[in-house]
Amino acid sequence: MNRKSKKKFAVFAGTGCRACEKAILDIHYQVHSLSPWTDIVFWPYVLGSRWEDLDDDVGIDVCFFIGAIRTSEERKAARRLREKAGILVACGACAAYGGLPGLDNLSYAECGRVESEPEDSDLIPSVPSIESRVSSLSQIVAVDFVIPGCPPTQNLLWAAMQALICGPESLTKLSYTVARLPENISRAITAGILPPNGSVFAGEKAVCASCSRLKEEKKFKTVIRPYQKYEESGRCLLEQGLVCLGISTREGCGGICTAVGQPCRGCFGKPEGVYDPGAKMVSAISSTFESESAQEIETMVDAFEDLTGTFYRYTLPSQCSLMSKPQEE
């Protein structure tokens, strides 16, 4: 293949833990197999790239933006990459919804500007100022595609990379993952064209749809936290008193956490049909209370700790309707 027709690929990470970048590297050691289709032109974490490497004449075809936006530098980076990139992808829960760093928005305390006074600012880099609020990528610039997850599961990540980078030559059109994506996305990938703008590389329904556990009548006696002992009976975790966010979370992961007895933490964000994940969880949990006495219910409710941090663990800046703010641009 002619080198000129290779797509230019970039990866940039804002505030986060680098697990998404490792997830890309870790796709069964497959990333190098993309080399006939792409040149990686910018990836500070892996290639040590600097902003100077992105001259005006270097365009980017596909850019994966990872991590939340918390500092002025990251905001600038998001704007710059949006200008340069043909396709900007919010990769991982932080970029997509604000992620764990987004829980900082719960604190009232304003972060003061971290001021440093370097004698020679060229040699000693200054610390970028911290914004008062953590934002998801889509709250700063327009985003073309979203790959949710903390980190995104390898099959979805690989499907997205193949679909966006290899296009019609992609081998993913034959893959099982593609068949599990919503119909409009999987059809586009199979046909070798780009999925509709704004597509989320994940399912449409809730995690419960792909969770392998046995769901019977839900009754809630006391809340159990994941570290506490419970009987592993293969039954729905919510039924047993664990706060599992499966009901208010988009599927696509295949229920991998619930399969091993860990309640869903909600890293795929909410499905389309849910207005507010917290409200959905309140509804789901309280409908499993058995008691008819107001006092008993009060006592049960007292046992729940940190509802906001649990229900909006990954989505506070963008999907909590009482704490999110509209998109800027």
Binding site: N105, Y108, E131, S132, R133, S135, Q139, V274, Y275, D276, G278, A279, K280, V282, S283, I285, S286, S287, F289, S291, E292, A294, I297, E298, V301, F304, D306, L307, T308, F311, C320, S321, L322, M323, S324, K325, E328
Partner: protein, 139 residues
């Protein structure tokens, strides 16, 4: 006198509280005019997202009215509302909604005086609290 007039959304059940609200007007009980009534078939159908959406849309308070426990037209709809309310109130509280802004009340069809009293009480309390401002940090 402050210029602030609260907006209160009330979800009233078709069989008891809405009838009480209707009768409160007919009986000429004095009521403050800050409430916007939404008639629902049962307090049990008021999903927590309706309440959150009301606050998101600019309401300063939300009142859910249902039949007394045991009186529900659909047998146990109001019990469902009762189970939901404490957890929802706790979540709202964490999100910065004061607990006075969300109330669940049992108002029987014949008790229009109670309806008028609850509405007036709630209007006064919320007027004192001031407008509901979200904890959204400035961007």
């Amino acid at each position: 006198m402050s210029a602030f007039e609260p907006k209160i959304i009330t979800f009233l059940c078709n069989w008891c509280s809405y009838v009480a609200a209707d009768a409160a007007g007919v009986s000429r009980f004095m009521q403050q005019t800050n409430v916007r009534v939404i008639r629902v078939f049962c307090s049990g159908m008021v999903d927590p997202s309706y309440v959150i959406k009301a606050f998101d849309g600019g309401a300063d308070g939300v009142l859910v009215g249902g039949c007394f426990p045991g009186d529900c037209h659909y047998i146990s709809g109001n019990i469902k509302a009762m189970r939901r309310a404490p957890l929802l109130a706790k979540l709202l509280n964490e999100l910065g909604v004061e607990k006075e802004r969300f109330r669940l009340e049992w108002i029987a069809a014949s008790d229009s005086a109670l309806y008028a009293r609850v509405v007036n009480e709630m209007c006064d309390t919320i007027r004192r609290l001031g407008p509901f401002t979200m904890r959204r940090k400035a961007g």
